[in-house]
Symmetry: C2
Subunit: 326 residues, 2 copies
DNA sequence: ATCAGTATTGTAAACGTTTACGTAAAGTGC
DNA sequence: GCACTTTACGTAAACGTTTACAATACTGAT
């Protein structure tokens, strides 16, 4: 049997209350002598505190739950690192639950599971909640925060890049480098996508350019989407394309190379995300890079009630896939 | 306050024992009528079972803990998917703890944290334990299993690809395609690395070839390592290189292309891992592909006491980076 | 020696479940 | 109707902690 504080108490000849006090560092409530003794016995017995019991009596687990889409994106890792890092600093454990791939049932399931333990916060990583989910989440009195997804509803906590600003930034960067015919490839139909279209259009307008409707093409962020979309862009004669993700950018790049279109000389490509993928292609892909690690860090802050900005700034990382002006 | 079974009991006019029985599906111990009533009340009150309390009394959490190296490799996701999938099937939750990057302290910390809750199993994902860790793990009476790491000690549970067989397979594939001067790039100094060297050497010998000592070069599995190692291989005039990871393969490939060495015509490259990276380069990289998802699935089987093979088979996926014989 | 004040310790209840045990009611076969 | 089994439910203990409250032991000043 695993030893408990009872065993330590017996062995050390004190009450369990005393043991508990020294083991949870209630300073000033015990003498140095008994502390030594108890610690010694605890070590001898190979004692480890039973978190379950602690959580029960404290009615609260020092634990942050992360619900994550099963889709293995290559940036979720980085967000998780940030979460983990900050959580550890704040004395919180991290538990992660997969919610399938936009699978409503599993999403429900995950949320319900989380509600069954009294976590201090819930982080939803790239999950689009339906109405029921949202209801469930609100019903818990636990703070929750959407990560890498912004609703435009300030009642609901969230942390992400500012997708409008991000698209604006990318568009402007291309314009500043002499492009006027600019495509936007692979964006989705959700909030993220529409924000990006908005940013793109605004930047074009602000610089006195018109954005043709068929310059923006939908997609699912995948490599395959990128490959296919290149064909669709060919007749449009754009000179630059903003890709909705690094993977889309690589897809465009490879398809372009197969069609003998030189990147960046004939076609410039800028990716969104800035993961390691950008560094390993030839040419490497210029990107507007999201600070995923920081997004992770801030999400913990936010869900733990610390004030932070909702948007984490992005920045352009110049590599080799955009033709520079002069 | 969150409602408890006590509240339900009061509301429904039964004892908490009855409530507990219907809520945990102890069939045949309650009547249909009371079941209906209790379920109705539970729903009205918005009741959710408190897992913490359940775990405490059951002295066991239906929960598998995964301790994972912080290094974001692009395959840990796939292993995690497999773990998650199988765990859900077996009614286990999954909790994940990061252990820093070969950081002894954090590793200890993670193990200790896990010991504090009575999980049903511990999975160690790509962590190299030191002696103390191993001691700690054994001291828990909880089953633990190393994932993607094999010690050569059958006392210790583990699941991984058979690194010796894997290297043998890669080497043989190259030999069958007419190569005789074959390099091995970027392997480590741990068990994994030495197993691969062994497989490589054995395959060479079995086919009557000699493997020169400086044909095998150390590295850290990174893109950068690949880039640098190419230079080292140049004077050796090997016609094919086995890369210790996809990233190393991409590094070799890009460096080769920069040095005007045609892949696969002048130099063949085969990667180990077979992640999506292989598909997005030009040429795409032929790989000996590990079945990471399956590794994840089997690891939970193993740690839950179900019998499974320790090694998960690998297979060659032919893409475009190896010159084919005729 | 006594007292107040403080430092240290002990007692026992509480957290929300599960479950062994007991019992009353209902059903069965004769 | 009887003894017997089965069904349905209640009582209370247990899981391993924390903590309010009470109790005791010390300290130094008188």
């Amino acid at each position: 049997m695993k030893p408990t504080i009872k065993d330590i108490a017996a062995q050390a000849g004190v009450s369990i209350a005393t043991v508990s006090r020294v083991l949870s560092n209630k300073r000033g409530t015990y003498s140095e002598k008994t502390k030594e003794k108890i610690l010694k016995v605890a070590k001898e017995l190979g004692y480890h505190k039973n978190t379950t019991a602690v959580d029960l009596v404290k009615k609260k687990a020092d634990e942050i739950a992360v619900i994550i889409n099963a889709t293995p994106t290559n940036f979720s890792n980085m967000i998780l690192s940030g979460i983990q890092q900050r959580a550890t600093e704040l004395g919180q454990r991290v538990i992660i639950l997969y919610a399938g791939d936009r699978n409503t049932d599993m999403q429900h399931q995950a949320i319900t599971t989380v509600m069954a333990r009294s976590v201090s916060g819930i982080l939803l990583l790239a999950v689009e909640p339906d109405a029921t989910d949202l209801e469930l989440l609100k019903e818990t009195r636990t703070p929750f925060c959407f990560v890498s997804l912004y609703f435009g509803d300030d009642q609901i906590l969230s942390i992400s890049s500012d997708n409008k600003a991000l698209a604006y930034q990318a568009t402007e960067y291309l314009i500043n480098n002499g492009h006027t015919k600019i495509g936007l490839a692979g964006i989705d139909d959700y909030h993220t996508g529409s924000q990006r279209v908005l940013g793109y259009q605004t930047a074009m307008r602000d610089h006195g350019l018109v954005a043709k409707n068929d310059w923006v093409k939908r997609g699912d962020y995948s490599y395959e989407a990128g490959r296919q979309l290149l064909q669709a862009f060919l007749p449009l004669e754009v000179t630059a394309i903003i890709a909705a993700s690094d993977m889309v950018a690589v897809g465009l790049l490879n398809a372009a190379q197969q069609s003998q279109i030189a990147v960046p000389d004939k076609l410039s490509i800028i990716g969104i995300d800035g993961t390691f993928i950008c560094e390993v292609t030839t040419p490497p892909i210029t990107s507007v890079t999201q600070n995923f690690y920081e997004i992770g860090v801030r999400s913990v802050d936010k869900v733990m009630g610390k004030a932070t900005e909702t948007f984490v700034p992005t920045r352009i990382v110049v590599r080799g896939s955009v033709k520079l002006n002069r």
